[in-house]
Amino acid sequence: MSNAISADDAGPGPGAPPASVAGTNTPPHDSRGKPRIAVFKFASCDGCQLQLLDAANRFLELAEHVEIDHFLEARSRSVPGPYDLGLVEGSITTPHDVERIHEVRAQCRVLVTLGACATAGGIQALRNWGRIDDFLSAVYASPQFIDTLATSTPIADHVHVDFELRGCPVDTTQLVELVTAVLVGRRPRVPQHAVCVECKERGTVCVAVARGIPCLGPVTQAGCGAICPAHDRECFGCYGPAEAANLVSLTGWYERRGTPREELARLVRSFNAWAPAFREEGDRLSAGPAGTDVESSP
């Protein structure tokens, strides 16, 4: 879950430009020279694909510039690959998913993941903390017919991903920006700063400061337009950890102001629970209060 940034930050930077579709390799453009796009679904709710459809006007405009050759949510016609750009929604939860994502990767010159499931494992990654057999027997009458993995993992755990678009669901403006950027072969403008920037841009009064509500905005990547704080709710972390997310400082501040640890652990364990920074913090918080072993009883 890195937006494809190099670890030492000395590399090409966030959103290292996905390989240009106008590159020197044989372009798989269709007969009219339009770049070909495919949309694939793994374990997910379809919400990110719906965002693509939801941008109806832009989607029609998009369709003028690209050939959408595989998008089962939108049309039953499917043209076989290879494709210039593959958009992948959903996480890997079955042995079949593992095989299929490798096939998808082989078909796509540029592979982009859409949303929290594909990028961090999604809400279903909460299973990673439980025992899969317990879930199976609790949910299914005949669990022996279920073929599943014990974990829900992001696409990048299995194949190389060129760019990760965050969000639960993704933001249509960012989605169109990403596709446009890939088409012209430039770096997408997808900022890595915190949700707080968007609160300040829209003039929202900070719910953490003015109401004492524990908000994940300062450690969450922007992109949603800070919708929740504008409606008097805290940020739930839909876009995953921001760059340099300092969770220990933030949760420590909230805890000292009265929010119980369990509540904070639940807050970081939602759509992006398995994203490394949130995962570590969830584990740290649920490991019990710091220093219980040395603290004397009250």
């Binding site: 900022p191 707080c196 953490a208 400061v209 004492g212 760059e243 340099a244």
Partner: protein, 418 residues
């Protein structure tokens, strides 16, 4: 000479007048009728914010703000007058240098690029309730955006038509330290009219109004056509002048009271050298364990002016806007340049912010970048406090300004200003 000119002469800059509180509505009406967008403080979303103001009744009568590091709370106090609160999350920056602006617009027609005019039809702005620290911030931003060799056209156009109805503070929050930065609480410049409420809280029935400009004189003359704008005798003027001066003395005398937020102050003695000589101070790493790199401090700061400019194209690539948006030295992209990032760590970003604001600014603009408004302290989600950080660096630096033993002074010059 017509009546209006005569009346304006009677209200010339430097003169003082009496305006009944209930007649504030006339001032708003005069501004609106002259085509202004009037903004003023109002209670909304748990704070006192700046937004469009149509009715004087919508001012925060009966509300006070309690501020501390990372905390802002409204308190209902029936005795509070309309301007007894202090500064909130917004400042004049939100209006003169808005978070997003389109600078240029280009269209490709038959293969060649043509610039399209962007309609600039915003009404002139009038701000009611600006404080001394706001006016200092205005002067600081003026020095940045309106220079002899380069003026930002959008800022300059807004600034040129701006009407400022300022207010002398009679109360300070614990986070206020304008007295340390020597720019408040008395309103002394950059205003058209300045209001002072000489009586405590809701008890006052009239403002003392000081005229600060010809524009202010004209406005007050227009108000005088609709209602009585009374005279003030020397004694009443002296009493009004004493209001912010008394507050200033109280701010200097504030001390820590049990159970109360610590009143802020900042020792500016030799601060430029103190900070530039402390670039390797261990405090930068310490504050980085708490700092979230969330940008809130810089975005609420009324003087911070960093921005990023980029092109936004539609899918066809034929329509391109050159947009400007607020940026912050706490964003990773801010320090990114060819070959790497100049400020990859939170410690380096916090240091950049503090040293630029309080030291580099002096070299660059001849003034501190801080007005002591306290916004960065209140609106930091984890209560990081600029006054506390400076005090910590000062306390553990040797008298010659070098950091405490064991830490090599940085051989490199301070980060270049943005």
């Amino acid at each position: 000479m017509n009546d209006g000119v005569l009346a304006a002469a009677a209200h010339q800059p430097g003169s003082w007048h009496r305006l009944a509180r209930r007649d504030l509505q006339h001032l708003i009406d005069v501004l609106v009728e002259a085509g202004h967008r009037v903004v003023g403080p109002q209670v909304a979303d748990g704070a006192i914010v700046l937004r469009d103001l149509a009715h004087a009744d919508d001012l925060p009568h009966g509300w006070l703000d309690e501020q501390d590091g990372g905390s802002y709370r409204l308190r209902h106090d029936p005795g509070a007058g309309p301007f007894d609160h202090v500064v909130g999350p917004h400042s004049l920056k939100n209006f003169l240098f808005p978070p997003r602006d389109t600078l240029q617009r280009w269209v490709r027609v038959a293969g060649s690029w043509q610039e399209q005019a962007i309609p600039r039809d915003e009404p002139p702005l009038a701000v009611i309730g600006a404080r001394a620290c706001d006016l200092q911030a205005l002067a600081v931003q003026d020095a940045i955006f309106i220079r002899a060799d380069y003026a930002d056209p959008a800022y300059a156009a807004r600034r040129d038509r701006l009407v400022v109805v300022a207010v002398n503070c009679r109360r300070a929050a614990a986070t206020c330290f304008c007295h340390s930065m020597q720019c408040g609480p008395a309103v002394t410049h950059s205003f058209d009219l300045a209001l002072t409420d000489p009586a405590e809280g809701a008890a006052g029935d009239a403002f003392a109004v000081e005229v600060g400009s010809e524009r202010g004189a004209g406005l007050l003359a227009e108000v005088a056509r609709r209602t009585t704008v009374g005279a003030l005798d020397d004694e009443a003027i002296a009493a009004a002048r004493r209001v912010p001066r008394d507050l200033e003395s109280r701010m200097h005398a504030r001390s820590v009271e049990p159970g109360q937020p610590r009143p802020r102050s900042l020792d500016t003695e030799g601060i430029r050298d103190l900070l530039f000589d402390s670039l390797a101070h261990p405090r930068w790493d310490e504050v980085a364990t708490r700092c979230l790199s969330c940008t809130n401090c810089t975005l609420v700061c009324p003087t911070c002016f960093c921005h990023s400019v980029g092109e936004v194209a539609d899918l066809s690539g034929d329509h391109v806007d050159r947009d400007r948006r607020w940026a912050s030295c706490f964003e990773i992209d801010h320090g990114r340049m060819h070959g790497g990032n100049a400020r990859p760590t939170t410690a380096s970003r916090y240091r950049q912010w503090l040293t630029h604001k309080l030291a580099g600014w002096i070299d660059q603009f001849g003034t501190s970048g801080c007005t002591g408004c306290g916004r960065c302290i209140t609106w930091c989600p984890v209560g990081i406090d600029i006054t506390e950080e400076v005090a910590a660096i000062r306390a553990s630096s040797a008298p010659d300004g070098q950091p405490a033993a064991g830490h090599e002074p940085s051989p490199s010059p301070p980060d270049a200003p943005p």
